[in-house]
Symmetry: none
Subunit: 200 residues, 4 copies
DNA sequence: GATGAATGAGGATTCATTCAT
DNA sequence: CATGAATGAATCCTCATTCAT
């Protein structure tokens, strides 16, 4: 059965979402052109109308990831109005992302991403650095507000913030249904606060 | 040219080390029988005298990793005599491991490891859990000693400990030579201590 | 050079015929994907568009064999109108099949067929049993007609019928061009008739 | 553990018997040097002290087969004193051989045997022809005795005799435990006699 | 835009055989 | 004689990609 001809913009999105779904379930290395095409409902070779190679799909996925991650940060700025609240919001959102799909960590932790072109590595660097520097900015603001200790190093503390999320991402993969993201958050956040907040 | 005949115990080790080196540079998925054989200096089929399949090599590598990781914990017990010192020692050693080779995180985080046999997933679980429970044990001892706050949850704190190491593992991959493990340690450790230590 | 694109139905047939030819000349075990692809004029991996595995090709060949064998029986029913004439017709056709290609016995007698999936063994059983029971049916009709002795056991006699063909199949293999199928038929058929026919 | 050094004559026999056993269970194509060595209790490479190649083992097995088959004929001559009795004796012995081990038919029907060297094909021819001509001789004696019809062609009748045994060999393979060799003999022998014996 | 067929570069594995000890 | 290690040829199969329709 012939698939309906579909505008390339729409198809591109369908393809990326299909790829994302596969990655979320089976990891980046299990991503195959055949698998994606199947999920989209077209034939493998038809993919090449929309992406010139598998590499390009991987790049596209990274762009998607950047969006998702940075949107969290922006929303934090909009909805919360002090540093600690913003950080907590971001953490909760990020953990929610993990629950929604394991794709994000599987992508960022996948060796498949580091191989490929060096352009891809740069892209990953950029995403990570944007994220870290957004966190740093919030931290600095908190320091100015006086809610966050003056003796922390914002860049390192941003990495520590990541340190609340990454182990969760790994454990969600390894311990599968037994790892409880909510209680992880509840336990880890106060400790993080303790290590950075100014005590009144 | 015919490779010199070499005792199987030695070859096994050579093979695992070669595999480890490849993984460290190119990731688990780039590990191929041909590649390993080449690095060892024998012909691919000769590998099968020492390992009955690629799977067995991967298992062997996991065993090696378990050893490396747990040895750090044991040494910490021998060389250091209070909880905080032990934890710091383990962290430093673990970071050193990352510097030595990127293989460790690439292996433990690789989706290639989760696929394959479910026996392998169990092995990874076991390694992770041994590591976490060893950390928990040290934390509990610290609580009894009175050096570590009584209100922390040891299991979650062990995961936070991992949170100092994992981001480093990722950043070491992504930022390659620019990420400085030493300064990371210097910045992150005091914050961790702040969040768990009893203040005198 | 790129092979002309050819409809899968046609290619499937080409592939089975090529496989059959190879088996006829070199036996089932000499059948290789490379060999078949070469004979068809495509690249080995192209075979997998038409058959998902070598197993499937072997199954396809068995289906072909079943068809060939059972078609003889059907034609006998159409063209001849008494038991002995039908049996003679079947024998002649079956011997002709042997002349055409040695594939049939090489397949049905090959241990390569018995290994593989147990599904394949069932298929062989089924072919053999259909053939034998078709022969039995004709024999029973002859007994009712009064042309075949009432004291024979149809099932065993069907096997004896096979006993005219199988040695020919073996000898055709072993004595190659020197074995004369026609004179074999001329000598063996009267004896078979003598042992089952009612003497008027 | 090192196997005891053993005289080559003895080892040769052990090897052939092991090979025979494997063939009987799994067919000629499943015969591997590793398998044989294992059964004998030595290491694969040690086989090459006794046989220079796998081919030579196959040749050795054929010699063994010749012996077994022709011994039946000789014993028939010794123990029975008229043509029909001798033929019946041979048939019973031959069917007994099938029960003992499926090796014989698996060898004679195996394509693996026809490939190999042309020397091997000659050997098979020779075995078959010796067997057939021994049968022919008995038949001719029966014709002279007056117990066997004068109008049969001895050579073709010898092939028919084979026709009692071969289908049994095939069915024993295919229908495995359900095929009853004894009742096959009981049903088939009278029909054979009917077609060749002089009626008093 | 989509399809079906074909390609080619791997990749894991098996197995008979060789060879130094 | 026997062993353990190494070899090389062969085999099945996967997958990204190309291309004519």
């Amino acid at each position: 059965m012939r698939a309906k001809k579909t505008n390339t913009e729409i198809r591109k999105e369908q393809i990326l979402l299909a790829a994302l779904k596969i990655i979320g379930l089976q990891g980046v290395n299990a991503l195959s052109i055949v698998g994606v095409a199947e999920k989209v409902g077209i034939v493998p070779s038809a993919l090449y109308r929309h992406f010139s190679s598998k590499e390009e799909i991987l790049d596209g996925i990274l762009d998607l990831m950047r969006e998702k991650v940075l949107k969290n940060v922006q929303q934090a700025r909009l909805k919360k109005h002090n540093a600690l609240a913003r950080l907590e919001f971001i953490m909760m959102r990020h953990l929610a992302l993990l629950k929604e799909s394991r794709a994000l960590p599987l992508i960022l932790l996948s060796d498949a991403m580091y191989l490929g072109t060096s352009a891809r590595l740069s892209k990953i660097q950029e995403i990570l650095e944007s994220y870290l520097s957004a966190l740093s900015a919030i931290l600095k603001e908190g320091m100015e507000e006086g809610s966050i200790r003056a003796d922390i190093v914002p860049e390192s503390t941003a990495i520590m913030f990541l340190g609340m999320i990454l182990p969760a991402a790994v454990l969600v993969n390894v311990q599968a249904p037994f790892f409880n993201l909510e209680s992880h958050a509840a336990n880890v956040w106060p400790a993080f606060v303790r290590s950075i907040a100014v005590i009144n």
